[in-house]
């Protein structure tokens, strides 16, 4: 086995791969948060709850469809509808009510915390506060090369590929379609967009739907590697948020990079320091980024990037 400075190369590669896999999930969650932040300037804490509901719906649909992959599609549709509903039925009416008041900025964020609590409670009532298994046909056991087995499994590969596909789809939608132009314009300058004839309210609903779909992919892909419970995605929300901040909160590319960077960082901390400090590390990274480069790695200081 190849060693450099006494460190085993196999372990480094393995840790890197695992980091990219978990980082892909953080990227998806960060993408969901960034899409909402860009369209309505709200940090959506409810995203963890929305992803829980869509994942449970995926889990339920699998009982009838007998296919994990079809159930992932069901979860994506459910996540998109839920995201659209939160914006159309809660956030938009709320924003209209508080517009111009002292609570205009903070009320929507508190509302998303409220929705998170509500969704968790409802999920607990429907599915119980127990752990269930949502299983994928792909093996969770690591790939074997000759006599060595690594931690990286086919499900990990599916996570990386799935996240890459979602990112690519959003890149195409945002940069090459009329809808993408409307989404970007509405997030940068809603008033000018309105004056140009864009139905900004509808575009925002679509932005929330895209975010819900991205969160649903994260939930449906990561859950087979662990378990499902009403709060099993809460820590993912924290990681997604840290990844989004690393990426500048406003940048889709930044969300992708931020997630992978964070995933790799976590994997190495887990491998070489220990599990007990990984979440401590997340908050240290968060505070460090906010103090040193508050605009994130993709942001210009004082400005916003595309």
């Amino acid at each position: 086995m190849l060693h450099i400075w006494g460190i085993e190369m196999k372990t480094i590669l393995e840790t890197l791969l695992i980091g990219v896999s978990s980082g892909s999930i953080y990227s998806l969650m960060a993408l969901a948060l960034v899409l909402v932040w860009r369209s309505t300037r709200v940090v959506n804490f409810a995203q963890a709850g929305q992803a829980i509901i869509s994942t449970y719906i995926g889990y339920e649909s699998m009982k009838h469809l007998h296919s994990y992959w079809y159930s992932v599609l069901v979860a994506i549709v459910a996540g998109a509808i839920l995201g659209a509903a939160v914006e159309a039925f809660v956030m938009r009416p709320l924003a209209k009510r508080v517009r111009g008041s002292a609570a205009a900025d903070i009320a929507p964020v508190i509302a998303t915390l409220g929705i998170l609590g509500l969704i968790r409670g409802v999920a607990g009532l429907i599915w119980g506060n127990t752990f269930v298994q949502y299983t994928s046909p792909l093996s969770g056991k690591g790939y074997t090369f000759g006599s060595t087995t690594i931690q990286f499994s086919p499900q990990n590969a599916a996570i990386v590929i799935g996240a890459a596909l979602v990112m690519a789809a959003f890149a195409i939608i945002f940069n090459f379609t009329k809808l993408g132009l409307a989404l970007r314009a509405s997030s940068f300058q809603p008033e000018i967009s309105r004056l140009a004839g864009i139905r900004v309210d509808r575009i925002r609903v679509i932005g929330w739907a895209c975010a819900g779909a991205a969160g649903a992919v994260a939930g449906a892909l990561v859950t087979p590697t662990a378990y499902l419970s009403p709060n099993s995605l809460d820590l993912l929300l924290v990681s997604g948020f840290v990844a989004a901040v690393i990426g500048g909160l406003d940048s889709l590319v930044g969300a992708g990079i931020g997630g992978v960077v964070l995933g790799i960082g976590f994997a190495f901390i887990l491998q070489y320091i220990g599990a007990s400090v990984t979440f401590l590390a997340a908050f240290i990274i968060l505070i460090f980024v906010l103090l040193v480069k508050p605009a994130g790695i993709m942001g210009k200081s004082g400005g916003r990037s595309a």
Binding site: K178, L181, A182, R184, A185, F188, Q189, E191, I192, S193, R194, L195, A196, G197, I198, R199, V200, R304, A306
Partner: protein, 237 residues
């Protein structure tokens, strides 16, 4: 009566009245300019007419249709297009994307491509910079881009808020002569809000002078320019 008819319009921000009962008309095809100092209520008037802010009272009709209570994006579809103050473009988007924004909600058959070609003929400098981000443009080019995007929305009533703001005299001349040509070639009705009274009255049919949210004088552009009292107290030259 067709055209724009505003009656007893009132706009307030909280307890502060910005427009205190203003009435005027703009007949179809006419270019009317509203002149006044900062804080006269000119921008508030345009923002109310384009649906950006709610009104506190009064009415406004465009071709016999009451326009208050509609969203800006719906008024755009009715032909009321507002070019807001301060070179109203989206800096993060390219020049072409800024133009296309005015057309993406229209049907393909609406002839958006033909209008875009006309706009690029009118402002050739935009054509040379289609792929550049709008924030790399000069102030004059941004104003051209904002007007160009408004034209792609196929306006019947064009509301222009201080197109001369922050521009050099030669550029102002270029923009104003473009506005004058446009309204004849496209048969536009134009409501032009300006602090630059001389340039605005030079191309306008009529002028209305605003002060502290009220109309203090109105008349033919040539007559306003010739009135020594108005010149001294409101036109500032």
């Amino acid at each position: 009566m067709s055209g724009l008819v505003v009656r007893d319009l009132q706009v307030a921000y909280g307890a502060v009245a910005a427009i205190r009962g203003v009435s005027f008309e703009v007949t179809p095809g006419e270019l009317v300019t509203i002149i006044g100092a900062n804080g006269a209520g000119k921008s508030s008037l345009l923002r109310a007419l384009s649906g950006l802010i709610p009104v506190a009272g009064g009415s406004a009709m465009w071709n016999e249709l009451s326009i208050f209570g509609y969203k800006p994006e719906n008024l755009v579809r009715a032909g009321i297009v507002h070019v807001a103050e301060g070179k109203s473009v989206i800096p993060e988007l390219t020049v072409e994307e800024n133009l296309d924004l005015g057309g993406i909600w229209q049907k393909k058959s609406a002839g958006v491509d033909a209008i875009k070609a006309e706009v690029l003929q009118l402002f050739p400098r935009l054509g040379e910079r289609l792929g550049q981000r709008a924030d790399t443009l000069s102030g004059g080019e941004r104003q051209m881009l904002a007007i160009g995007r408004a034209l792609i929305c196929k306006p019947k009533l064009l509301l222009l808020d201080e197109p001369s703001l922050g521009l050099a005299p030669l550029v102002i001349e270029e923009i104003f002569s473009a506005i004058a040509r446009l309204r004849t070639s496209l048969g536009l009705t134009v409501l032009l809000v300006e602090q630059n009274a001389l340039s605005a009255l030079a191309i306008a049919d009529r002028g209305i002078i605003f002060n502290l949210g009220e109309v203090v004088a109105s008349g033919k552009a040539s007559e306003l320019l010739a009135d020594p009292v108005l010149r001294a107290s409101y036109l500032g030259y």
